[in-house]
Amino acid sequence: MSGHFAKPIVQLIRELSRFPGIGEKTATRLAFHILKSPREEALSLANSIIAVKEQIKLCSVCYHITDIDPCAICRDSHRERDIICVVEGPQDVASIEKTGEFKGRYHVLHGVLSPMDGVGPDDLRIDSLVKRVVDGDVKEVIVATNPKVEGETTALYIARLLKPFDVKVTRLAQGLPMGGELEYFDEATISKALEGRRVI
């Protein structure tokens, strides 16, 4: 379909359709939206894309994405220094921050162990986590990787690696989501919730 359009439009459609979840149809609609929008808007979009590539780097302490190194969370002197929450990716930092419950700092692994995808410990920010634990006075490491096979194994790997050091390694609790009904959960969820039950 894009063969009927002028070259710059075809090029834009091709670029846009590379985004996850965007097919050629949606890409065409987006391209025409950009074409029709005021010049300033289109420029602002283009500049934002460039800015993201040029200004965003990884925090040298926790490897969260940031424009200023160290990142805002690591710079914040009110945050507890002795507790680190380990997450798979930057989006997970945002999810936990939204709760407002966690006052410590983070460590972003940028993935999980997955030999079939060629991801080993050296591809993740694990050595730097150990270094943080050894160098600083960290009392607890919360491993908040996803409760899938790879996330679980990564959590175990980290726990075993940190065993020689005087640090408590914990895992996020697994169980029932809020607002659900027991009869609709699978056995895995319910048995995990049973395992993690507590006194009220």
């Binding site: 030999p115 080993g120 096979v149 175990l156 075993r160 699978d186």
Partner: protein, 362 residues
């Protein structure tokens, strides 16, 4: 109990609707007319997979794009099931009006026991077939077993990928070993539970089996009363012992994926059986025990699918089997080439269907 099934473009059926009777439903016809296809459709509707070894890509009728199966049930976990599948994959998996995205959440709402000629593999074939049989059977008792198995397989795949690499950290393989042992213990324990349940029922001999005592034995370094922790520790110890060999062969050498289940007749492994009729009897004993396990666990009678049993069971065993099933009030779907092969008395609870060229006549 299955009340009704509707097939569209499934194998050799263009469009067919069958209303089943309460007890015996006999499907009679020459070979290649679609008798087994009908049993397969019933099974497929409940399990989303076939009990046959035939090519599942040919389930869509020639020249069509997709097939659909829907059915009504009584006393099952769902009253209405409906599925549609095209050459490209699943289009609809629906139970009681709800659509399912995950197959694991859908399957097993109707409990069924199948007896088909392909199942002879169970005795003669590879350990894989016996493991699959036991896993399937235990799934019907405890649905969670299949999830455990899926987790175990994922870990196994990851660990094997790691072993394929030229170098890895000791702690990395250790972590995968720990996970494998944890998940593996759950699979092993499940299979051992099912073995025990079946043996309990096999102890009571059935008239069509004769005096032979059939039993199962889960082959592995485990004891029947080992708990998860014990099995896990044993698996981990085996993995540790086999480390050198694993690194050479680059594959996981211990775990439930390598276990076997021995089928014993009077204490002797049934592989070495001579007569095919005898093997069929053993298979029947297993299947009947399976039925009784479900009955005692769920308090509900599974649907029995008997594909072409008459061809190889002698008339005495056939009679005994049918009267056994009848006395339990089970609903049975049975196929045969000759109606004389099935010793039945016409009653209001039985139906005879003639199957010919993808048409079913009552």
């Amino acid at each position: 109990m299955i009340k009704e099934i509707v097939l569209e473009n499934f194998r050799n059926y263009e469009e067919v609707k069958v209303s089943f009777n309460e007890e015996l439903n006999i499907f009679c016809g020459q070979n290649g007319q679609g008798k087994t296809n009908l049993l397969e459709a019933v099974y497929f509707l409940g399990m989303l997979s076939s009990f046959r070894k035939t090519d599942s890509t040919q389930m869509v009728r020639q020249g069509e794009n997709s097939f659909s199966i829907s059915g009504h049930f009584e006393g099952a976990d769902a009253a209405a099931l409906s599925i549609e599948k095209s050459h490209n994959g699943w289009k609809k998996i629906c139970a009681d009006g709800s659509n399912y995205k995950k197959k694991l959440d859908y399957i097993g709402k109707v409990r069924m026991v199948v007896f088909s000629p392909d199942e002879m593999e169970l005795i003669q074939g590879s350990p894989e077939g016996r493991r699959r049989y036991l896993d399937r059977a235990y799934f019907n008792v405890y649905h969670h077993h299949l999830r455990q198995l899926k987790i175990f397989r994922r870990i196994l795949k990851q660990r094997n990928s790691l072993l394929k690499k030229d170098a890895f950290r000791r702690q990395e393989i250790n972590s995968w070993s720990e996970k494998l042992a944890y998940a593996g213990a759950r699979v092993v324990k499940g299979r051992m539970s099912m073995t025990a349940l079946l043996n309990e029922k096999l102890d009571k001999s059935h008239p069509f089996i004769g005096r032979d005592k059939v039993s199962l034995q889960y082959m592995g370094a485990f004891n029947a009363d080992d708990d998860y922790e014990k099995i896990e520790a044993k698996l981990l110890a085996s993995l540790f012992k086999l480390r050198k060999e694993e690194e050479q062969r680059r594959i996981t050498l211990a775990g439930p994926h390598r276990d076997d289940i021995a089928i014993l007749v009077n204490g002797v492994i049934a592989k070495s059986f001579s007569s095919r009729g005898e093997m069929r009897s053993v298979l029947l004993a297993l299947k009947t025990a399976e039925t009784e396990v479900y009955r005692s666990v769920w308090g509900e009678t599974p649907l029995t699918l008997l594909d072409d049993v008459a061809s190889e069971l002698d008339i005495e065993r056939r009679k005994a089997l049918l009267s056994f099933l009848r006395q339990k009030g089970e609903q049975v779907l049975i196929t045969t080439t000759e109606v004389e092969n099935i010793p039945f008395e016409r009653s209001s609870k039985d139906s005879l269907f003639m199957v010919s060229e993808g048409k079913i006549l009552h």
